[in-house]
Symmetry: C2
Subunit: 633 residues, 2 copies
């Protein structure tokens, strides 16, 4: 390998490449020199004190750099990002270099104390915190302005000089992970701790939630099967199922918080202090004084942003919602047309035609969701949010509202305007199954196939026929830099959120939905795992303590499903038969039951503690210790 | 004065008495000596390093001690309780002795840097943190066991050796405060900052909330008056009023959080770190290892407590609720009897008799509330909660549920079972006004009168005819130690909570309730101020950042009032006339409107930020600074 690296020598004998920096083709020599100098420069001089080696690719370009760091430097970095690790006494503590000896498995020569994902996260953090000192511009690019304190990497990214930064895969580790994760046919839990070590907490938490959610759906699926098998139509059985469903969904969402706390405590992220948030890469504004930091940096008036949100984004979202409802009405026209056609010329073909409108509508919904997603991303980015978290919240809100309406409006219309339970059941089944198939295809198998084809072509080009693990570093980097980028867990959670809607909103009409959801999720685990390991570039680890705003979204959905299920039960002919004289009594009873269920949900959410008792005690002990330490100071 | 103090000399030339310790009569000499020695002993020897002077009362007993502290000692104490003060640059920071020069108004000879309430809070904190070292018992009392780390003062209190600890009034300051607070007839805000300096944050926050709530009720009262004056009965006007009421109550509760944040930021308590909570004085158990602190201390099994809560307290509360409903049914019998009586012999007397059952019921409700309160306190104390906060939460829950049912069950019965709007209006008015009069009387004027009588008798006994301000220290201490103890803001908040219920639950039936509430609250401010300044012992200051669980209680009440008001409007004949053909449409419309209002409430609560933008920025700046400081370490 060594001969393909340039003469850019560093003092570390065992350089382990962790992160790849790809510059644009034809980047000026002086820019490259300046950047590498800043990266290797001492902390005291404002550098990142990391190791850099350029990688000469086969066509002689020198626009790819490998970044690594000495063991000592990584430990200091772990302290500065506030990593929490397990101590010798089994408690979790924030790592500091001076107290390193008290941590479990720490030894000066144990380079596995930090996982590779942690090392890469630290390097990313250090690179992003490489800040301009007195440079007014990026050398070689007078149009790329800098000001003291501006993150150099973010400016390089927005100016297109830096194409991408990504962490390298570890072929050995990945092979092991793939084997335990999905390589062998077995019934069992996913290796969440290994996934966390390789991909970081955010992704491991998603897979944890996916697995938990699938297990949680199994009781509902099991109870749902006999409804289909025996064609039960008794109202009391449906009421039982719906009541079970509502309480169950509250319980699983509350218990998830406890599961999540146990996991993130073990991973250390539950205790990790939130870092001060930097402006997101796309943020722009005129130079001013930031009232929080007191530093000179771009400032964008909050009133301007509010105007953009309320006068442009909000009307646009409303327009999209209107359009979605319009498409829905076309679907109902088509449905009516297919029904008429079937009545006129009754044949096998015509009965098949009955399903066509639903399938077309499901495909159109998926397409609209995806187009809207781009529009929402563009708009939210145009709103110019200063922080990534604020950007994410606005994006999620936009996408959730539209997707909710787009997916469920037709079902609401069928249920509460047409009062057609048979059509509701049929539409629900078609929508659920079509969207699941489309998702599985678009999400994993299509990219996998594209990736496989690309890899073959690459290998041919290099005239090498080696197997996967024997790839040289140059080949590996070249392969990985062309792989797709994984844009976070947003789409995966969204899919689960909509699935949860299909399962719970109309559960008393179609108990079989839970069965399909379970089947889908079992394959989803495998296809998502495949996607992470084979299709996409390795993503940077992102520490997180919870699934964040998704918890709220799922809880809101479960509140809405109480309302819809109560109405559905109230509308069923069997319940109507119980109140032959007075529809009023029926409605009042339904309303009373609904309010009691809602009250019960809130009481349950309040009574079930968010963290198990032993985690509470551990957290209290840490707090007590830090108070004691402060006192002794 | 000096001659009446004993020869227990301390090095401080200007001893300022701050806190009074009263021991039981006939306390052993060795106990007194041991206690005073521990209080004055150096920190290094496990003492509190405070100043103590015994006060010889007229009958020669020596069971009262005055506690003070040197200026330097108080500053160190301020650091150990984590006091937050304003700096020279107008930011709020946690006080430390080493950075004392950077704080506003700090000077080595300025003894007013800490308010007297803060000094007394510090001394209380130091006294409570005086812990046993190797003593196994309290000297002189072999039955009073100690273990290392046990708070001496708490053990003395539970064993009855220590009668009470209370802070001294400052006659001069109190006179000034009384003058600006209620001494002159003026329209204006209360001097909340002065109240906070004298009585501490918890009490100032209560008065702030009372004032805010009164102002918030004024719009409702103003809109409510014409309904009474013009005897409006149009349904649309009532709907308007109810809708305004519902949104208004959401807005005021959300805006209060912002007000509260502004105030507590200025007072420094918003930033104050929560101290580690000690077991409450009444807590008992067998000696074991506390899993949090790792210290040997009494431990009480959580399962035993759960058994007590669910098998004793819960059934008892249910029994009380049943009894309360039973009493309500008796009231309705009485009401019926009075009505029959009035019909039979129509006279002035009989029409007066119509009001008697309501008045009797209101009185009985008040009495039951008070008796139940004692029972709830006894039960909650018997449940043996380890922490004061847990004790308080269980007590508040018990009391709130009972008081809610006790006060409002009859109104619910009249509204939703009897459907008698006229009776509802009459009962509401009677209950509201009677309970207000009873409260004002029982809370302030009765104790004030008792206190005044007692004071006169005391003065006579001492044969002194001096005016208030000329009282000698001995006289002052003797007067104050006999004054009633203020048991916290619980009863005051509860009164406001029930008033809020009367105003909002049935607001669309009786808009005048807001007028009575405003009138009551204006006098309540004065009577509560009188109570604090004249009737009770000075309470210890208690730092707090919010009104805590009461915010939740008020919000719950406002959610319930959405439901009740929607039903009331749906039941009104005018709305019924709008749906002449179908009651079903009416009920569905009402249910739809109710759900929309509830959804709107939640969205509003979500959208309105809990803290104003400038406070958010200030908090972010502090967080940023502490992160920067950590980095530079």
């Amino acid at each position: 390998m060594k001969e393909s690296w340039s003469s850019f020598d560093t003092f570390e004998p065992s350089f382990r490449p962790l992160v790849v920096i790809e510059l644009a083709k034809g980047t000026r020599e002086e820019t490259r020199e300046w950047l590498t100098k800043r990266i290797v420069d001492k902390k005291a001089n404002g550098g990142a004190q990391l190791l850099v080696k350029p990688l000469v690719t086969e066509n002689g370009d020198q626009n790819i750099y490998l970044v690594g760091a000495s063991h000592f430097r990584l430990l200091l970095g772990a302290e500065s990002v506030g990593l929490v690790k397990e101590c010798n006494d089994n408690s979790m503590r924030t790592f500091t270099y001076s107290s390193r000896k008290t941590f479990k498995d720490f030894a000066d020569d144990n380079h596995n104390f930090l996982t590779m994902a942690e090392c890469q996260y630290i390097i990313k953090h250090e690179l992003e915190n490489l800040r301009a000192k007195d440079e007014k511009i990026i050398p070689g690019y007078p149009q790329a302005k800098l000001y003291p304190g501006k993150s150099i990497v973010r400016r390089l990214l927005t100016n297109g000089i830096l194409v991408q930064i990504f962490p390298l895969h570890d072929r050995e580790e990945l092979k092991k992970l793939r084997h335990t994760w999905y390589g062998r046919v077995k019934i069992g839990y996913q290796p969440l701790d290994e996934i966390r070590c390789y991909f970081g907490e955010t992704i491991a938490l998603y897979f944890g939630f996916l697995e938990y959610f699938t297990f949680a759906l199994i009781p509902m699926a099991v109870i749902g099967i006999p409804y289909y098998v025996f064609a039960w139509e008794d109202y009391d059985k449906y009421v039982m199922f719906a009541a079970f469903n509502l309480l169950w969904s509250t319980v699983i969402l509350e218990v998830w918080k406890r599961f999540c706390a146990v996991m993130t405590y073990r991973w250390g992220t539950l205790l990790m202090k939130r870092q001060f948030e930097e402006p997101r890469p796309g943020f722009h504004g005129v130079l001013g004084i930031n009232p929080v930091t007191g530093r000179e940096e771009p400032v964008y008036s909050s009133i301007k942003r509010q105007i953009r949100i309320y006068l442009v984004s909000l009307p646009f979202v409303c327009l999209c919602l209107y359009f979605s409802l319009y498409v829905m009405m076309i679907y109902f026209d088509l449905e009516q047309w297919a029904l008429d056609y079937h009545k006129e010329n009754e044949s096998n073909f015509s009965s098949l035609m009955l399903f066509v409108p639903s399938i077309i509508y499901a495909v159109v919904i998926e397409i609209m969701n995806r187009i809207y997603r781009y529009a929402a991303e563009f708009l939210t980015s145009w709103e110019n949010h200063r922080l990534e978290s604020s950007y994410q919240n606005h994006l999620i809100l936009k996408v959730l509202v539209f997707n909710f309406l787009n997916c469920f409006a037709s079902l609401f219309y069928i249920a509460f305007v047409l009062f057609d339970m048979k059509l509701l059941r049929q539409s629900l089944a078609t929508l659920l199954i079509t969207s699941q198939i489309l998702n599985q295809f678009a999400e994993a198998f299509l990219p996998y196939w594209l990736q496989k084809r690309h890899k073959k072509r690459m290998k041919k080009k290099m005239y090498s026929q080696k197997t996967d693990t024997d790839l040289s570093l140059v080949e590996q980097v070249n392969l990985e830099k062309e792989m797709g980028t994984y844009f976070g867990t947003f789409d995966d959670y969204l899919e689960l959120f909509l699935q949860f809607g299909y399962v719970s909103l109309f559960s008393c009409v179609y108990p079989l939905a839970a069965v399909f959801a379970v089947l889908n999720n079992v394959t989803e685990i495998y296809s998502d795992a495949l996607k992470m390991c084979r299709v996409y570039k390795r993503p940077f680890a992102e520490p997180t303590a919870s699934i964040g705003v998704w918890q709220l979204a799922f809880e809101t959905m479960s509140v809405i499903s109480v309302v819809t299920n109560c109405i559905l039960i109230g509308m069923s002919p069997q319940v109507n038969a119980l109140f032959p004289d007075s529809k009023m009594d029926l409605i009042l009873t339904v309303a009373l039951v609904e309010h009691m269920l809602l009250a019960m949900k809130f009481v349950m959410a309040f009574v079930i503690p968010d963290k198990p008792r032993d985690i509470q005690i551990k957290l209290a002990r840490l707090e007590f210790e830090s108070l004691e330490a402060l006192k002794q100071q």
